[in-house]
Amino acid sequence: MMVLEKRPQPSQRWVFAAPLLAVVLTMMVGGALFAALGKNPFEVIRTIFYDPLFSQNAWFYRPEILIKGGPLVLLAIGLSFGFRAGIWNIGAEGQYIIGAICGAAVGLALYPAETRLIFPLMVLAGALGGWAWAMIPAILRVRFGTNEILVSLMLVYVAEQLLASMALGALRNPEGMGFPGSRNLSQWPAAANKELIAGSGMHWGVVAAFIAVIFAYIVLSRHQFGFQVRLSGQAPRAARFAGVNPGRMILICMGISGALAGLAGLFEVAGPSGQISIDFNVGYGFTAIIVAFLGRLHPVGILLAGGLMALTYVGGGIAQGQLGLPAAAIQLLQGMLLFFLLAVDVLTNYRFRFGKGEVA
């Protein structure tokens, strides 16, 4: 008989091996799925995971990986603080949208001025917008004990409606001949989130993502606040005895993730996407949840996981164009990855023992 036995310590080896095993399992089951859809599984897997990096057209795809990965990493780093402390902000998509709206609104209010101050102002407004949107579930949780999971998620739908109303109303391009959508920020030098090195895909959002990774690494591993975050998640009672104020923890963790999500939204709207439009958001806020878990809620892990997830977006796009793979199959693949990770993770905290255990 096979029994599960709790490990005295989480296995260090499996902390690293579990995500890799999950990726391999996802490729295998995903391959079977592609075969069922009538595609050659090896060709599809190669197109998704190999071609964007190493094929002869890779110079064209590599910048895309940075463009897609930047917001994912930024969002996931923010989420990881809360997830570690047992605070579940799953409305990052909403904070991303509001950050973009606020940042773009500040920029558009100053149109067509040409000073270097506009872009920094927009960045600030984006972060503040995301932070404020995250404060709604945080304050309701602290003050009334309302479930932050449900409130933050409901606010995603509110934010989407607000986005539609902005794109059709207050922020609509007055010279746009009635089409929905704002002025194109990326074509207005003072507000554009330009590529820093032409053709590299490197824009300020990617820089911010790298800074966030370093900052999070230092805070989580070297600073007392990082210790308090981990303590709150693993032993809430012990944390309270150690003098950690749970309400303050909620406000800070939600605030960090909201501000980073807002930043990600602003960088996207001022750069790759270019304008506020009804559907400029593509669900990064939800994919970032997968990135955070796949990266073990660890900054460096998140950086790698963000890269991998960006790869599935870019490679999935190629597979869609060249092999006719449906877009939904990529979404399914991403969901599957999280499933397998959660399943394999049992090996980190438990081990299998074979043979009959002695009777207690």
Partner: protein, 304 residues
């Protein structure tokens, strides 16, 4: 604006229809949570139910078979969550989110060739005698059969939890799984059954959207209904009777804002469309006083 265009009888009648998908999903989740499991994947199970029900109904021409398929589809998907959380001891919040993301992708893939098709008709029942009563007749007794199936399930769950022995075991497992285990109850088996019941109900709720309420298939058509169902369970303090109140309250807000949109109220459509979500938040703030089942969301591992 012409408010007189809103007919209160029709408003109340459509309220019952608008509340049904949420009521179905919420009553399933209520049983799951009373067994001590928090399944945040309701949205994913609903949308998979919506598409599996739609596919079967379109291909067979029978909405009833569609509903059965939706229940089976939802239950199968929930089994994934069940295996993950009960055997692989995964975090329930993360697994539930994974289920939602996975379900959204799966449904989009399944429904590729079903966009823009109309579902087979599912005629309303006109209950004899009762349906002829003025005012009350059209409001309560002239709906499609699933409205009544939903009410019956709520009634059944209420009676099951309150009066049956199995219901008592389920509540014991939810309140304190270690004690229930020590008494010799099969915690994992009870929970798996509850999870599958929840999945089947969520599937039915989803299929009600795609087969009756809309009635066609569009990607992401549940639009947060599963999350609202989760909120209503909290609002109801895990009691079936109050679930009904919550679902009808929510149905009322939805129907009212749709009617106001149609009547051309001077508020932009987007602000009316966000009102059900804001109403849910307000309700959650006012009603977050109920006591959750003792073992809700905790991992059960029978130590020796």
């Amino acid at each position: 604006m012409d408010l007189s265009a809103i007919n209160p009888i029709l408003l109340l009648a459509s309220l019952m229809v608008a509340a049904t998908p949420i009521l179905l999903a919420a009553v399933g989740e209520l049983v799951v949570e009373r067994a001590g499991v928090l399944n945040l994947g309701v949205e994913g199970m609903m949308i998979v139910g919506a598409i599996s029900g739609f596919i079967v109904a379109v291909n067979t021409g029978s909405p009833w078979l569609g509903f059965i398929a939706a229940a089976v589809g939802g239950a199968l998907l929930s089994l994934l969550f069940g295996i993950l959380t009960q055997y692989f001891l995964s975090n329930q919040v993360a697994s539930g989110l994974a289920l939602t993301l996975f379900g959204l992708g799966l449904s989009a893939l399944m429904g590729q060739n079903y966009q823009g098709i109309k579902a087979p008709a599912f005629p309303d029942w006109h209950i004899p005698v009762l349906g002829d009563i003025p005012v009350i007749g059209p409001i309560v007794f002239q709906h499609d059969p699933m409205v009544y199936v939903g009410l019956l399930i709520v009634l059944g769950v209420w009676a099951f939890l309150k009066y049956s022995r199995a219901g008592l075991v389920l509540r014991a497992v939810g309140e304190n799984h270690d004690a229930a285990h020590a008494l010799g109850y099969h915690v994992i088996r009870v929970r798996l059954l509850a999870i599958m019941f929840g999945g089947a109900c969520a599937g039915l709720g989803g299929a009600y959207l795609s087969l009756v309420r809309v009635p066609q298939w569009t990607e992401g058509m549940t639009a947060g209904a599963g999350w609202i169902a989760l909120a209503i369970v909290v609002f109801a303090s895990w009691k079936p009777g109050r679930l009904l109140l919550g679902a009808y309250l929510f149905g009322g807000v939805t129907v009212l804002q749709l009617n106001l949109q149609a009547a051309g109220l001077a508020i932009p459509v987007e602000y009316l469309s966000m009102s059900p979500y804001i109403a849910t938040i307000v309700v959650l703030v006012i009603m977050s006083s109920g006591r959750a089942p003792g073992s809700l969301g905790r991992i059960f591992h029978a130590a020796r």
